[in-house]
Amino acid sequence: MSGGTDVSTTATSITSLQLHALSLRRHVLRMAERVGQGYVGQGLGIADLLTVLYFREMKYDPHNLAWPDRDRFLLSIGHYSIGLYAALAEAGVITVDELDTYGADQSRLEMAGSEVTPGFEMTGGSLGHGLGQAVGMALGVRLDGRSSRIFNLLSDGELQEGSTWEAAMSAAHYRLDHLFAFIDCNDQQADGPPRQVLTIEPVHSKWEAFGWDTQRINGNDIHAIVNAIDAARKITGKPHAIVLDTLMGKGVRTFEERDKNHFIRVEPDEWRLAREQLEENAQLKTKRNA
């Protein structure tokens, strides 16, 4: 039923996905540099998941976004929109040039993304909305007999919203095995790490207890993401939770190491350094793979 089953996880396909991920990260830096700030850490951290979804797993038509049989990606966490804009530009849904309007007045690319942007299935950002709407869409496509799947990206902090658990309960009740929730655990929320703000662990056993097929993986390892989705697809009768441990700012050392990287403001001269670090990191990875 998946659009991705015919793609083998050969070394070549992983390398090609890694190139897309690098491209997404370049887009993220380009957007943030224009305005000097943004949710850069999240955009870089989630680039690997979005790459796997948009360039391997999901079936969609970038030129016909309303195609009823498409898979749907729901971004609960509106402030991660910088990452989704990057993926949508890479996928040809919006132009790469439009990325230069990120966060600007009258732009469709708002810092907290909404359904005004093509490719956004809903308005996230007020946290705790995505999974419930994902359940509704999963019920809807099933009622219509479509093979579409629903992918929802949540954050670790968002697990503090009670509505997330209302939705989790209903997804298991209705046995929505065409629903996939990705929980980005980057260990940061607005006021600090969740263990200091409000403990959310044990995340894995919480989802399991709510009746979900659950895995926990390194969310910056493309191969691991591919394998996890492949494994989840084989489990029927349950919705799928894939908990991703990710590193905010992944790929740019100075951002990875920043203490407070929930919202990043950067001096103009630091962007050159960030771009250089991203390219150096990518070269290292290429060498390792060779």
């Binding site: 909305h129 709407q133 209302e166 939705a167 209903s170």
Partner: protein, 331 residues
């Protein structure tokens, strides 16, 4: 406010709709109307948050089990799931009580349903003083909350006739709607063959020259009686029924107030934020002089008690509407 009567009724009257003072009733008009619509429109689906029997949607659930989704006691999720269904092309009718929809799930109505104009129909039971349960269950400020949300259509029907017609109208209307529900045995005030509900249209039910009563929801039934009482006292009262609070029929209301500037509003809701406020906004914006008296619930959490007691306690009866009109005229 002084208590003029002892509690004589039965408290905790959660099953009651407003059959108080009704001469004729119809059973479960919402459930029956939804089934009729759904027979010809396969895109209609139903949802509830553990209040199927108490919102009459259990009839739809029995008739179309595959198109019905029980969400359990989770109102935020009720609205989110409905929004998701709407975004896959369905027309979800989601039921709960006014208080739970508007107080508990406000952000979900505003952002999940209204911001993107998702085609969600929220059907909300126990409006105002139609239940003897106290502050937890009486929807006394829901219209104020819902009127504040952009893109949302807000309707407070008078009776079984209008409720049935409204179900049909909102199923055909593209966009989010908040509809106040009367359930169980519901009074029939309007003749189904003569009355025609249309979203956004006020209805002038009687012409008059001394005072104009503008009412919404079940208060229109009492306002009709007030008009007869006033007539007996030699007072000519116009009556306009405004069941759609948003979009508001400003044109019709202004035309009436220009003719008859002494106005009594009557609503099963706070006297702030609902119908009276909408009338005040419209007239002030247009610079139309108005002398306004408001019948409705003051800004307080109401007592529990029997419906007749509560109606008397908060001065919501036909006599209270007539008294407000007379006071204005003889002042």
């Amino acid at each position: 406010m002084s208590v003029s009567a002892p509690k004589t009724g039965v408290t905790g009257n959660i099953l009651s709709s407003d059959i108080y003072g009704a001469e004729r009733t119809a059973a479960a008009p919402f459930g029956e109307a939804l089934i009729r619509e759904a027979e010809t429109n396969p895109r209609i689906v139903g949802l509830t948050a553990d209040l199927g029997k108490y919102t009459d949607i259990h009839l739809f659930a029995n008739r179309f089990p595959e198109r019905f989704f029980q969400i359990g006691m989770a109102e935020q999720n009720l609205i989110s799931v409905a929004a998701g269904l709407a975004r896959t092309g369905f027309i979800p009718f989601a039921t709960t009580y006014c208080v739970f929809a508007t107080r508990r799930a406000y952000d979900f109505i505003a952002i999940g349903a209204a911001l993107g104009s998702a085609n969600v129909k929220i059907i909300a039971g126990l409006p105002g003083l139609t239940t003897g349960y106290g502050g937890t269950h009486q929807g006394i400020e829901d219209l104020a909350l819902m009127r504040s949300i952009p893109n949302l259509t807000v309707i407070d029907p008078c009776d079984a006739t209008e409720l049935s017609q409204a179900v049909s109208a909102i199923a055909r209307h593209e966009g989010p709607v908040y509809l106040r529900l009367l359930r169980g045995q519901v009074p029939v005030v309007f003749d189904p063959d003569a009355y025609q509900f249309e979203i956004g249209q006020a209805r002038l039910l009687s012409e008059g020259t001394d005072v104009a009563i503008i009412s919404t929801g079940l208060m229109t039934a009492r306002a009709l009686k007030a008009v007869a009482q006033l007539s007996g006292s030699g007072v000519s009262a116009a009556l306009m029924h405004v069941s759609t609070l948003k979009p508001f029929d400003t044109e019709a209301v202004l035309a009436l107030v220009r003719r008859v500037p002494r106005v009594v509003t009557a609503e099963n809701h706070f006297t702030t934020g609902g119908l009276a406020s909408a009338v005040a906004d419209a007239t002030v914006d247009a610079g139309v002089p108005i002398h306004l008296k408001r019948v409705g619930i003051p800004n307080c959490f109401c007592e529990s008690g029997s419906i007749p007691y509560l109606v008397q306690r908060y001065r919501m009866d036909s006599e209270d509407i007539a008294a407000a009109a007379l006071e204005m005229i003889h002042k």
